[in-house]
C-alpha cells in the first residue's frame, strides 16, 4: 500500500507545518541585546545620555546594558567591555570611544562577531561604524571660540584646557576653536594643557596654567569635568571678572558658575538625543532598516550664557527632568 504511506507522510508534514506556523505566530519576538559602552558613568552628561538611551530601549523593546570605565582615559577597560559584549552576543554596541585609534581593533573584532556598531559622542577609527551620532565637534569648538570673541573686546590671550589627547572629539573641538581664534586676528593661544577628565585634576592644572600665564583672559574647557575644574580654579584664584571662561556641557557647578560669574558661557550638547538616537539607530540596524541611516547625525549644540540661562530652551537643554536631587 504505497500511496497510503505517501498520504500519511503528507499528513505528518502538514501537521508539522501547522504546528511550526502556530509556534512562530504565538511566540513574541525575542528582545535584541544592545550594549552601550560609555566613556564614564559618573558625569551628568553621561547620565543624560543614559536617560535617552533607556527611553529608546523602552520604546523599541530592547535589552539595554549600560557600562563604562571608571575614568575617561581607560580605553583598555573599554576594549574589554566591547569584546565581552560581543562575546555575550550583543546585537549592537553603542559606543563612545575614549581613544580614537586604540579602541579601533576591539570594535573591528566585535563587528566581526556580528555586532552592529553605532558611535555616539566620540567616534573611533573603524570602518565598521555604521553611523556616528553626536555633536559636530569641530563646529562646537568654533562656537566656543566665537562665544569668547563675541563677548570679549580687545586682544584675547587664550588658555585651553583639554582632556585626553587621544580622544577624537576633544581634539576636533580644539581644532575648531583654534581655527576661529586664528582667523579673528586678535587672539593668541598661549597655553594648552591636556589634563585628566576629572574635576580635581582639571582644577589643579588650570591653576598652574593661570599662575604661569597671568596674562590669560580667555579660558576654553572642552568637556564637562574640565569645565567644572576650570571654573573652580577661576573662582579660587578670584579671577571671575578677569578671565572669560567658556565651558562645555551642563553641570550644576558650571551652571552655578554661570550665575556667579566664574563661567561666562557654556556650549551645551544634547546628550539625551545622543543616547536616544544611538539606541534607536542600533535598533534600526538590527532590524534591517539600517539602509536609511545617515553616516553622521549632528545632534544640536547651543551656547548658553548669563543672558539666556533661564529661557525655556536653555532650561530644557541644561536641566534634565530625570535628575534626582538628593
Amino acid at each position: 500500500m504505497r500511496p497510503s504511506r505517501r498520504a500519511g507522510l503528507l499528513c505528518v508534514a502538514l501537521a508539522w507545518a501547522l504546528l511550526s506556523g502556530c509556534g512562530t505566530g504565538v511566540s513574541t519576538a525575542e528582545q535584541y541585546k544592545v550594549t552601550l559602552v560609555a566613556k564614564s558613568t559618573q558625569t551628568e552628561f553621561w547620565l543624560s545620555v543614559f536617560a535617552g538611551a533607556e527611553a529608546a530601549a523602552t520604546e523599541y523593546n530592547l535589552d539595554l546594558t549600560i557600562i563604562g570605565p571608571e575614568t575617561e582615559e581607560d580605553y583598555e577597560t573599554q576594549n574589554q567591555m566591547v569584546s565581552q559584549a560581543a562575546q555575550a552576543g550583543a546585537d549592537a554596541i553603542v559606543f563612545s570611544a575614549i581613544d580614537y585609534k586604540n579602541n579601533a581593533s576591539a570594535i573591528d573584532e566585535a563587528a566581526q562577531k556580528g555586532s552592529k556598531i553605532v558611535a555616539i559622542d566620540s567616534s573611533v577609527d573603524s570602518e565598521m561604524v555604521s553611523t556616528y551620532i553626536g555633536t559636530d565637534n569641530y563646529a562646537a569648538g568654533q562656537m566656543a571660540a566665537q562665544a569668547a570673541l563675541d563677548r570679549v573686546d580687545g586682544p584675547l590671550t587664550v588658555g585651553i584646557i583639554n582632556y585626553d589627547i587621544s580622544s577624537a572629539n576633544g581634539q576636533e573641538r580644539e581644532r575648531g576653536a583654534v581655527d576661529v581664534l586664528k582667523a579673528s586676528g586678535r587672539a593668541q593661544v598661549v597655553a594648552v594643557v591636556n589634563t585628566l577628565a576629572e574635576a580635581e585634576h582639571a582644577r589643579a592644572d588650570t591653576e598652574t596654567m593661570l599662575r604661569r600665564y597671568p596674562q590669560i583672559n580667555v579660558l576654553l574647557a572642552f568637556n564637562e569635568p574640565t569645565s567644572v575644574g576650570a571654573a573652580e580654579a577661576v573662582e579660587e584664584l578670584g579671577l571671575s571678572q578677569q578671565v572669560f571662561l567658556v565651558g562645555f556641557d551642563s553641570n550644576v557647578a558650571t551652571v552655578d558658575g554661570l550665575q556667579d560669574g566664574a563661567v561666562d558661557a557654556l556650549v551645551v550638547q544634547n546628550p539625551y538625543a545622543m543616547g536616544y538616537l544611538g539606541v534607536e539607530s542600533a535598533y534600526q540596524l538590527i532590524s534591517g532598516h539600517g539602509g536609511t541611516l545617515e553616516r553622521v547625525v549632528d545632534t544640536s549644540t547651543q551656547v548658553v550664557d548669563r543672558d539666556n540661562l533661564f529661557t525655556m530652551d536653555s532650561q530644557k537643554a541644561l536641566f534634565a527632568f530625570e535628575q534626582h536631587w538628593e
Binding site: 500511496p3 498520504a7 503528507l10 499528513c11 502538514l14 507545518a17 501547522l18 506556523g21 502556530c22 512562530t24 505566530g25 543624560s48 535617552g52 527611553a55 523602552t58 520604546e59 523599541y60 523593546n61 550644576v252 557647578a253 551652571v255 552655578d256 550665575q259 544634547n270 539625551y272 538625543a273 536616544y276 538616537l277 545632534t299 544640536s300 548669563r306 540661562l309 533661564f310 525655556m312 530652551d313 532650561q315 530644557k316 537643554a317 541644561l318 536641566f319 534634565a320 527632568f321 530625570e322 535628575q323 534626582h324 536631587w325
Partner: protein, 572 residues
C-alpha cells in the same frame, strides 16, 4: 488494430482536485477577508479605547496633582496669615510633611522677594532671574494661577523642575503674593512611564498649543522630533486616528492643561493584524492542503480502479484471445462495473471461440467435399491407360496400375481421417507418381528421400499430390529433357519439412504469386493454395508452403508442418 487518437479530455483526478480546491479556496478567501476586516476594526477600536483609557488616567493623575497643589496652597495661605513665629513653625512642619514642595516664597506689592521657606536651603544672594514669580502675571490675574513647569532658580546647586502656583494674599499683610513651588518630577516620571503599546506615549500641552511637558523634550527642542502642535491645539477632547497615529486628547480638570496620548497604529493594530493574517494564511494553507489531499485520495479511490479497468479493456482490445481478466477492486460501483466487464469478457471469448470452431468446421467440411471429388480427367485418363495396357496384353503393368490407383483412392479416403501417417502420405504420392509416369511414358524420373524417423508422424492427407501434380503439369510437361522430381522429408526441430523439387521450366515471381492466390476454378482437384490454406488453418500462420523458383532451373516447394503424433490434433 488501428491506433487510438490521442486523448484530449482531463482525468477525473485532476478535475476533482481542481474543483474542490478552487471551491475551498474561494470560500476560504471570503472568510479570511471578512474575518480580517472585522478583526481589524475590532483591534482599531480596542487601540482607541486603550489609548483613551491611558490618557484619561494620566489626566486624572495630573488633575489630582493640581488639586493637591490647590489644597497645599490653602494650607500655605492659612499658615502665612499667622504670626511670624507660628508661621515659620507651621510652614516648616508643612515642608517636612510635604517633601515634594521645593519652596514657598512670599513677595511684596512691588514683586520683591520677602521670605523663602525651603528645607535646608537658603536662596542665593543674587538671584539672576526668579522663575517662580512674575510680577506682571501676578498683577494680571486676580486669583491663584499656575505656571508651566520650569527650573527652580532660587538656589545654588539645586535646579529641580517645579510647577509654581502663585496666589494673592489678603491685603493688609506685608506680603501681597505667595508662591508654592511643587516638584514636577513625580508627574514627569509618571508621564515618562506611561506607555500606550510599545512606543506610544503621553505629553502635556496647554490650551494654546505649547508643550508643557513631553517625555522626549530634548529631542523636540533639538529639532530631532516634532509634534503637530497647531493641529493638536484645535482638537477637541476625544480620540482621532489616521493611518499611522492615534491621537487621544483629554483636558485636565480645573486647569488649561491637556493630556495628549500618541500611539502608533502600526504596532497596536498592524502588528496584530499582520500576525492574524499570517495565522489565517497558515490555516488556509493547511485547509487547502487537506482539501487537496482528500480530493486526491477520493479521486484515486475512484480513478485508479477505473484506470485499471480502462487498461484491462485496452489489453482486451489488442489481444482478445489470450486476455485473462483480473477483477479490479474499489468502491462498490467500480466493483459492479468490473464484474460486468468480467462477464462480458468471458462471453465474448466464448463467442469468439465458437465462431472460430464453426469456421474451421465449415472449412473442413468444404475440404472434405473437395477431397471427395476425384479429378475425373485423371480417372478417365488412367482408366484409358489401363484399358489400353490390357488391350496390348501388358497385363502385369495393368495390374500394377490398378493397384496403384486403388492405393491412391484408399489413402485419399483414409476412412474419412484428415490426418494420416507420413508413410501413408508418401505411399499416396508414390502411387500417384507411378500412375503419372506410365501416362507420361517415362518422360520423368522420381526419387524419394525420407528420413525414416519422420515416417510415424502424422500429416494432412493429400498434401504432396497437388504439389507433384503442379510440378508435372507446369514444370515437366513443357520440358524437352527428361524431368526429375525429388521428394525429401526432413525433421527441422519441432517441425517436419517436405521438399518437392523439380528441374522444370520454373516460374517467374508473377506466376508464383498467381499460383499462391488462385483458387482452382477451372479445374477440379486441390490447388496449391488449398494445401497452404489447409496447413494454416490446422497449424497456424507459421506453417504452410514456401516456394522458391528460378526460370529454366526448377522449382522447390517447401512444406512445413509441426511434428504430430497420433491423436495430437484431436486432443488440441
Amino acid at each position: 488494430m488501428k491506433k487510438d487518437a490521442p486523448r484530449t479530455g482531463l482525468r477525473t483526478t485532476t478535475i476533482l482536485v481542481a474543483m474542490v480546491v478552487s471551491v475551498v479556496a474561494i470560500i476560504l478567501c471570503c472568510c479570511i477577508v471578512l474575518f480580517l476586516n472585522r478583526y481589524r476594526s475590532a483591534v482599531v477600536q480596542n487601540a482607541r479605547t486603550s489609548s483613551a483609557q491611558a490618557v484619561s488616567q494620566v489626566s486624572t493623575t495630573v488633575g489630582n496633582y493640581l488639586k493637591d497643589m490647590t489644597q497645599a496652597m490653602e494650607l500655605v495661605k492659612q499658615s502665612i496669615s499667622e504670626s511670624a513665629d507660628s508661621r515659620d513653625k507651621l510652614l516648616f512642619a508643612f515642608l517636612t510633611f510635604r517633601p515634594d514642595v521645593v519652596a514657598v516664597t512670599s513677595y511684596s506689592e512691588t514683586g520683591q522677594l520677602l521670605d523663602c521657606w525651603s528645607l535646608g536651603r537658603e536662596p542665593r544672594e543674587n538671584i539672576l532671574q526668579n522663575l517662580s514669580f512674575d510680577l506682571d502675571m501676578a498683577r494680571a490675574s486676580d486669583s491663584a494661577y499656575m505656571t508651566a513647569p520650569h527650573v527652580e532658580s532660587l538656589f545654588e546647586g539645586y535646579y529641580p523642575w517645579v510647577v509654581t502656583m502663585t496666589a494673592p494674599l489678603e491685603p493688609g499683610g506685608q506680603a501681597a503674593w505667595v508662591s508654592l513651588d511643587l516638584s514636577f518630577s513625580s508627574i514627569s516620571s509618571y508621564i515618562n512611564n506611561v506607555s500606550i503599546g510599545q512606543r506610544g506615549y503621553c505629553f502635556l500641552m496647554d490650551k494654546t498649543g505649547n508643550i508643557v511637558y513631553h517625555p522626549q523634550q530634548q529631542l523636540l527642542y533639538a529639532g530631532l522630533k516634532s509634534e503637530q502642535m497647531a493641529a493638536l491645539a484645535g482638537m477637541q477632547d476625544g480620540t482621532y486616528a489616521n493611518d499611522t497615529v492615534i491621537y487621544c486628547a483629554a483636558s485636565v480638570a480645573d486647569s488649561d492643561w491637556r493630556v495628549v496620548g500618541v500611539s502608533y497604529v502600526d504596532e497596536l493594530v498592524n502588528r496584530n493584524v499582520t500576525e492574524m493574517i499570517h495565522l489565517s494564511m497558515a490555516l488556509a494553507v493547511v485547509v487547502l492542503a487537506a482539501a487537496v489531499l482528500t480530493s486526491w485520495l477520493l479521486s484515486r479511490l475512484l480513478g485508479r480502479p477505473l484506470r485499471g479497468l480502462t487498461a484491462a479493456m485496452e489489453s482486451f482490445e489488442t489481444d482478445a484471445d489470450h486476455f485473462t481478466y483480473r477483477p479490479v477492486g474499489g468502491t462498490r460501483e467500480v466493483q459492479e462495473l468490473s464484474d460486468s466487464f468480467g462477464h462480458m469478457v468471458l462471453r465474448i471469448q466464448r463467442l469468439m471461440s465458437t465462431v472460430r470452431e464453426e469456421e474451421v468446421n465449415l472449412r473442413k467440411t468444404e475440404l472434405k467435399a473437395l477431397q471427395a471429388q476425384i479429378n475425373p480427367h485423371f480417372l478417365y485418363n488412367t482408366l484409358d491407360s489401363i484399358a489400353w495396357m490390357c488391350e496390348q496384353g501388358r497385363n502385369a503393368e495393368a495390374v500394377r496400375m490398378v493397384h496403384a490407383l486403388a492405393r491412391l483412392f484408399r489413402i485419399s479416403i483414409s476412412k474419412g481421417h484428415e490426418l494420416i501417417p507420413i508413410a501413408k502420405e508418401i505411399q499416396h504420392a508414390e502411387s500417384y507418381l507411378q500412375i503419372q509416369k506410365y501416362r507420361y511414358k517415362n518422360q520423368f524420373t522420381y526419387t524419394f528421400d525420407v528420413d525414416p524417423a519422420c515416417l510415424n508422424y502424422y500429416c494432412n492427407k493429400i498434401t504432396l499430390q497437388p504439389i507433384i501434380e503442379n510440378a508435372i503439369n507446369h514444370g515437366l510437361d513443357l520440358l524437352v529433357d527428361e524431368g526429375e522430381i525429388d521428394v525429401r522429408v526432413r525433421q527441422d526441430g519441432d517441425d517436419i519439412v517436405f521438399y518437392v523439387q523439380d528441374n522444370g521450366v520454373g516460374m517467374t515471381p508473377e506466376q508464383l504469386r498467381t499460383i499462391m492466390q488462385r483458387d482452382p476454378t477451372d479445374r477440379t482437384g486441390i490447388g496449391i493454395k488449398n494445401v497452404d490454406d489447409r496447413l494454416k488453418i490446422y497449424f497456424g500462420k507459421g506453417y504452410g508452403l514456401h516456394i522458391t523458383s528460378e526460370p529454366d532451373v526448377g522449382t522447390c516447394v517447401e512444406i512445413r508442418m509441426p511434428k504430430l503424433e497420433e491423436g495430437d490434433y484431436e486432443a488440441k
